[in-house]
């Protein structure tokens, strides 16, 4: 009997959810009790895929939640559930939040898309916002950052800094968001150094410091001297520092973990967006919409550049960033070939958002194939 129990980690998660559920329910009771006395506060809930202490993706969303709590301290109560796995658990957690009187719920990972859509239909009065997805409804908005803009800047720097001409990329899952980042990086890197190749290792997780570190070691052993990552822990950066190669922080400034190795970091800044949307909810002007913010809206930012980067490279990076803000530079400007050499974006054209959102091919210069 216990064998099946231990093999099935999900059961543990369920138990965790049950405990959580009890907390939520008791929370509801207390709210009902004090609701009559004090003026009712609006409730904003968050669902995170990782722990808020991951120092990456979930951490930054939680920074956004705290910004809401600070700005509307007298009007809004925020709650969150962390480390919620995709699938049935996500459905349960989001449903619980919707049932327990939340007015606005942010589900902050791609895999929550279908559960969020389903639950949004069942709770038409609750407003939902799903990060990085593409399915919307009357009470379900989507939002994401144009992280590929940051990847473009990173690619330029990496292209100038590599000596081995091999970039290593620790990737999570083969979804368009991640593939777009890989492509954006290599296109930019090859624009300054056409000899560059990129090696990709998929770890099939957003968060496992040990495995991310192992993937980093594998890439370094195979000659990569700039490590890029699309997973959430600072472990790759730390390994890079240990092995004296370069790396780029992910989602938040990870400079503490590799002060020498971190060239820069792509920072997700959700604060302004979360505050605006909460404000709209409070004022009754909230509408379902799609937001895809980049450098221009401040949703994507670059961390301070490493002092070891030559001044002309920094200037080039800043120029590209300014160009993206001004609209004169687009990271996906043709001619761009896929791996087979076929032109996918003709010269002079840029990829539209539809192509970017559905990107499922590698461009020239990426080693290997996309796991199917």
């Amino acid at each position: 009997m216990w064998l099946t129990l231990i093999r099935d980690r999900r059961k543990l998660m369920i138990l965790k959810r049950i405990v959580l559920g009890v907390f939520l329910i008791t929370g509801m009771l207390f709210n009902a009790a004090d609701g009559s006395a004090a003026e009712k506060k609006a409730k904003v809930g968050f669902v995170y895929v990782g722990p808020i202490g991951d120092h990456g993706w979930s951490y930054q969303h939680n920074v956004g939640r705290l910004a809401i709590a600070r700005t509307f301290s007298d009007k809004v109560k925020t709650t969150y559930v962390e480390s919620v796995p995709y699938g049935a658990d996500a459905t349960r957690v989001i449903t619980k939040l919707a049932r327990s009187g939340h007015d606005l719920i942010f589900t902050t990972s791609f895999g929550y898309m279908n559960p969020t859509l389903k639950i949004a239909k069942r709770f038409p009065k609750v407003k939902f916002e799903h990060a990085t997805g593409y399915k919307r409804s009357k009470n379900l908005a989507t939002y994401s950052g144009r992280f590929y803009e940051g990847r473009h800047v990173v690619g330029l720097i990496a292209g100038k800094m590599t000596k081995s001409n091999i970039l290593g990329y620790v990737a999570s899952y083969p979804i368009p968001e991640v593939i777009r980042g890989i492509n954006s990086t290599i296109i930019a890197a090859r624009s300054v150094n056409p000899k560059i190749k990129i090696k990709v290792v998929w770890v099939s997780t957003w968060f496992d410091p040990g495995k991310e570190a192992d993937a980093t070691k594998a890439l370094i052993a195979q000659g990569a001297d700039v490590i890029l990552q699309h997973t959430d822990s600072p472990a790759p950066l730390q390994q890079a520092q240990k092995n004296k190669v370069w790396a780029v922080g992910q989602a938040s400034d990870m400079v503490n973990f590799g002060p020498k190795a971190q060239l820069t970091a792509i920072i997700d800044d959700w604060n302004a967006y979360y505050i605006n949307r909460t404000k709209a909810m409070l004022e009754g002007t909230w509408k379902s919409q799609d937001t895809w913010g980049g450098f221009k809206s401040g949703m994507v930012k670059m961390a301070p550049y490493n002092k070891a980067i030559p001044a002309d490279v920094v200037a080039m990076a800043e120029k590209a960033k300014d160009g993206i803000i001004a609209g004169t530079v687009h990271p996906f400007t043709g001619p761009i070939k896929d791996q087979s050499g076929k032109i996918v974006i003709p010269a002079g054209k840029t990829a539209d958002d539809g192509m970017l959102l559905g990107m499922n091919f590698y461009v020239e210069g990426v080693d290997g194939t996309i796991p199917k």
Partner: protein, 307 residues
Amino acid sequence: MSELVVPVLLTIITASTPLVFAAAGEVVVEKSGVLNLGVEGMMIVGAVVAFAVGVKTESATLAILSGATGGMLTAFIFGFLTLRLLANQVATGLALTIFGLGLSALIGHGFVGKTFSGLPKIGIPLLEQIPVLGSLLFVHDILVFLSVIAVFLITYVLNKTRLGLIIRAVGENHHAAHSIGYSVVWVRMGCILFGGSMAGLGGAYLSLAYTPLWVEGMTAGRGWIALALVVFASWRAWRAFFGAYLFGGITIIQLHAQGFGVDIASQFLSMLPYLATIVVLVLISNNSSRMMLNAPADLGKSFHASD
């Protein structure tokens, strides 16, 4: 060739060591008839305590000792609940994991973003100078050596000593052991504490050597793999050791294969270690008499002298 193979093998050793600690410790616990599913919880408490002490004191020795102590104290809660209060072992073990994850997040709150210098490498004199093999086998941090020594000691004690005989007797038939005057509760408590300190060491290895940092949930399910390895090893420490290396080996080799552009779906490769575990499980349990011989007969049963 060797400059390519050695880093792979070194990474395998790092990836396997935390599993070796946790699984070998759990072998002892289960041999005494106790099923502690809280390995993940004890590991992560060990990880956070070791890291916190490491950052505060800058002493690797103190950090390692505190990691073991952290795991042991967590295990004590389990021992008290299941042996003294006769709580259900499965439920208590699961609760211990949830508790450990939460407690570690609380303790580690102030340590997110801090860094630790890592454990120093120790070379065994003379042996370390053997070409290739020397750097592969004889230059490691203290915990890697300790994990191997622990497996040898556990195998020896369980099979060749009076203490091992008592532990096994308690696990096979606690009433018989009780009737000839052994304190079932104290023998089991000792084993639980030992298992806890081993899990704590596994956690300490993660936060001190593997990835010298603290992030919540950094054990990422390794405690559960260790539990599966115990069954995989049919309750023998040295088999658990090989199981851990097999598991670590497949995990690491698939990462390297991807870097080389080997055209196999990475999802399949990620699945391989688990698949291998299941296949071996099926092979072992195929022969039910052999399975019965190895599994402690009183595994998971509560003991009360009046029963």
